[in-house]
């Protein structure tokens, strides 16, 4: 079904959709060959110590219910088709966050006979979070950067990379909104850690 709206209504609707999307990005996590180090950090991000669910980020069981695909590990030959299938099952618009050195480039496994390389060898990646493994703060910052990009603060289509020196830079964004909340939470966590 296509709804034909005049421009102002369409703009309002888009705004509403973006608002909803920013408020509650639902994620699915897939390991395409990781050593589990990054997976544990993602779990640490989701579970009560960091508890990103309070900010609307929720892990989904099915790719059909997810907006964000969080990928860990290099892509093995065996996992390639599975990764593509999961990506294709997600509804548009969809976003991919690659977490960890291996997801970025293949890392320690690069050049191995059963490895294809990083996630971006197989599917397009929006945010790269380096680290072996990245800390939960870095993963949260990756989500913050993705949301900022979604909102249009980062107009370029080039992927964004987590930079530990400017962690929480998204916090300079004005006003109260989910991106700010997340960045604030992240700063809090950093203060505790």
């Amino acid at each position: 079904m296509t709804l034909k709206l005049d421009q102002s209504w369409q703009a309002a609707l888009d705004k509403l959709k973006t608002w909803a999307r920013l408020n509650s990005p639902w994620a699915i996590h897939f390991n395409s060959g990781s050593c589990n180090g990054c997976d544990i950090e993602i779990l640490a991000t989701l579970t009560p110590r960091y508890d990103v669910e309070r900010l609307g980020i929720k892990l989904q069981g099915s790719p059909r219910h997810a907006d964000v695909l969080i990928c860990t590990g290099p892509v093995t030959r065996q996992a390639r088709d599975r990764l593509v299938r999961i990506y294709e099952q997600m509804p548009e618009p969809k976003f991919v966050i690659a977490v960890g050195s291996c997801a970025l480039s293949g890392g320690a496994f690069r050049g191995c006979y059963n490895i294809l390389g990083g996630i971006d060898q197989v599917i397009p990646v929006d945010v790269y979070v380096p680290g072996c493994p990245p800390r939960p703060e870095a993963i949260i910052d990756g989500v913050v950067k993705l949301l900022a990009k979604l909102r249009g603060d980062n107009p370029s289509d080039t992927p964004v990379v987590f930079d530990p020196d400017s962690a929480g830079e998204a916090a300079i964004l004005a006003g109260e909104d989910p991106v700010e909340d997340l960045a604030h939470a992240q700063r809090e966590e950093e203060a505790i850690a």
Binding site: T76, R77, Q78, G111, Y113, N114
Partner: protein
């Protein structure tokens, strides 16, 4: 001392089939046996309750050597005895130890897919670790393996 006793016992047990005995480092003994004698040698260790099989590994000394090796590592405490079986690269085949050690199946499947050494008489010859779309006749742990062999 106990380790030395273990190694001495093993050397005595394996003496009838040993073509060569090497001591790569303290606490280890490598015994070279012919492919035909492997089952008998393993039987001798198992019947005497000398330790257990810890792993089977492969070794590719390079194409110019013309051989491949299958290494059967047995451990008893800190002592390690390795049965080295040298097979021709052109027709690498070793007999299966399934009749002596039933749990050997996984190791033998791995040896087959990684080194292309045929294990004669092993009940399951399916791939264990390699991807489903892996081409036949390509063995990743051989020295002459190249990524180009896998195609796109």
């Amino acid at each position: 001392m106990e380790t030395d006793t273990c190694l001495q016992t093993a050397a005595e047990l394996l003496a009838p089939w040993a073509q060569e005995t090497i001591e790569p480092e303290p606490g280890r003994v490598d015994v070279v046996v012919a492919p035909g004698d492997l089952v008998a040698a393993a039987h001798a260790l198992m019947d005497a309750r000398w330790g257990y099989l810890t792993a089977i590994t492969g070794l590719d000394p390079g194409e110019e050597d013309g051989r491949l090796e299958a290494l059967y590592h047995f451990a008893c405490g800190a002592a390690i005895v390795t049965l080295r079986v040298r097979v021709p690269r052109a027709q690498p085949a070793v007999p299966s130890l399934i009749g002596v050690i039933p749990s050997v199946s996984f190791y033998e499947r791995e040896l087959m897919e990684m080194f292309g050494i045929v294990v004669e008489g092993t009940p399951n010859t399916d791939r264990l670790f390699l991807p489903e779309d892996w081409p036949d006749g390509v063995y990743p742990l051989r020295k002459d393996f190249r990524m180009e062999q896998l195609g796109g």
